[in-house]
Symmetry: C2
Subunit: 259 residues, 2 copies
């Protein structure tokens, strides 16, 4: 393994750009992951790792796990502590980083399965947390439109590896995608805090279904709202207080709990 | 209103210490809030504001809301942009800050109500998110033991004001607190990913109940676990992937959904 000791090395500069700019992620087709667990998850999920960077310290501590990462990497480098501090996006760098190649998602919809659709979710932590919960609960995939970048390191961190495994199907035209799924027999639901919507506890989610979660501030757009059955999470407390990822968690749970 | 233009002003130094150190929060009995909404929530919830700081820019933009804060404040200062940048804990400061006095919680337990107990929750964002969801769902209060500081600005931000309103009852001896509540007829539950626990969907939460959520890494401690009926969230996907705040949300939702 070659060494990189200089923070102005070209590959280090590339790593920082890919980590911090979605434009660079689009241009290069790469994304940045950090931490033993996430990098290992990428390797185990079959992502091609263009380049991995590890500190000597990390190598000593976790050789076995790191070998999994190295063997999935086209190139690997030992980096100095100064370089690790340059490229880290975390407060306490673990000394394990990689640049992975994005891959195309080819998802065959399961028309009898449950999906979550995310419209304009803007907070990377919310986006990641929703992916994590979706995977945990056995949701088949997330359909996204206008959301923040799934490859943002914050999204990936909040998703704890699930964003690498869960099918995340991006669409520029959510309306058409939903209408197609509806034609294939899937029910469409939109969540809202409005109390005139149907209570989610009264819904029988027994077939294929998609539940749409809207933007953190504005909720589901009118265009999408009009296509869907409106459902609400009845609350004993202050309705305004339910965060998008929590609303998504309870919605997905209700879809799955009797399924 | 007096002006503070110097970042080395004593009150500004105090604000930074209170914002960044739980030791200083304990010593002074103060805590730090930031942002129009949170500071306004503190004023409306009846907290005594020792000192508020606003920029001229913020004052122009939101005079009406800021007046609510100023009238609950013992002292108020206009601060320069440089001072606001010094004290902010956010990436984009809103220019509204305050130092509030902590107040003692005198909570009369409702023995037929639903409570969440948090044992050693260490992540401020999780802690705050759980408070927010608890309030939204109508949970009566949170019993906490060994958790991170509720007055950490990150906790308060994630709670979006709910940590100011929800009764948060801190105990140094969770076992005794739970046993007392059990003697008063409340059911005790501990959540676990273990599949030999009772499925939460099979539990009838019709009386008073406390559900314990454990530490992010280690779950509920053995001592507390042994006092409680063990319940689990059945998952179709990867059980390890459910984050503490999401597990808490689904648990609280199940406690309340038929209540």
């Amino acid at each position: 393994m070659d060494r990189i000791d200089s923070v102005s090395n070209d590959r280090i500069k590339l790593a920082v750009k890919v980590a911090t700019s979605s434009k660079h992620r689009r241009q290069t087709g790469l994304f940045f992951l950090e931490g033993l667990r996430l990098c290992r998850d990428a390797a185990l999920t079959g992502y091609e790792i263009e380049c991995s960077f590890v500190t000597e310290n990390a190598l000593e501590k976790a050789l076995e796990d790191i070998e999994v990462i190295l063997s999935a990497s086209n190139r690997s480098f030992i980096v100095s502590t100064a370089v690790a501090e340059k490229i880290t996006q975390a407060q306490t760098p673990q000394g394990v980083f990689c640049l992975c190649k994005k891959r195309e998602i080819k998802h065959e919809f399961d028309f009898s399965g449950k999906y979550i659709a995310l419209e304009n979710i803007q907070d990377p932590s919310n986006f990641g947390a929703i992916c994590r919960t979706a995977e945990a609960l056995g949701i088949k995939g997330a359909i996204t439109c206008g959301c923040c970048d799934i490859y943002n390191p914050k999204t990936q961190r909040a998703a704890m590896g699930s964003a690498l495994r869960l099918p995340v199907i991006e669409t520029a035209d959510l309306k058409s995608t939903l209408l197609e799924l509806s034609e294939r027999g899937m029910e469409l639901y939109a969540t809202t805090p409005r109390s005139d919507a149907d209570k989610i506890t009264g819904i029988c989610f027994d077939g294929g279904a998609v539940a749409v979660i809207g933007n953190e501030g504005n909720g589901v757009s009118d265009e999408i709202f009009s296509l869907c059955r409106k459902i609400t999470i009845p609350m004993g407390g202050r309705a305004e207080s339910l965060n998008a990822s929590m609303a998504a968690a309870i919605t997905m749970w209700e879809m799955m709990r009797n399924g």
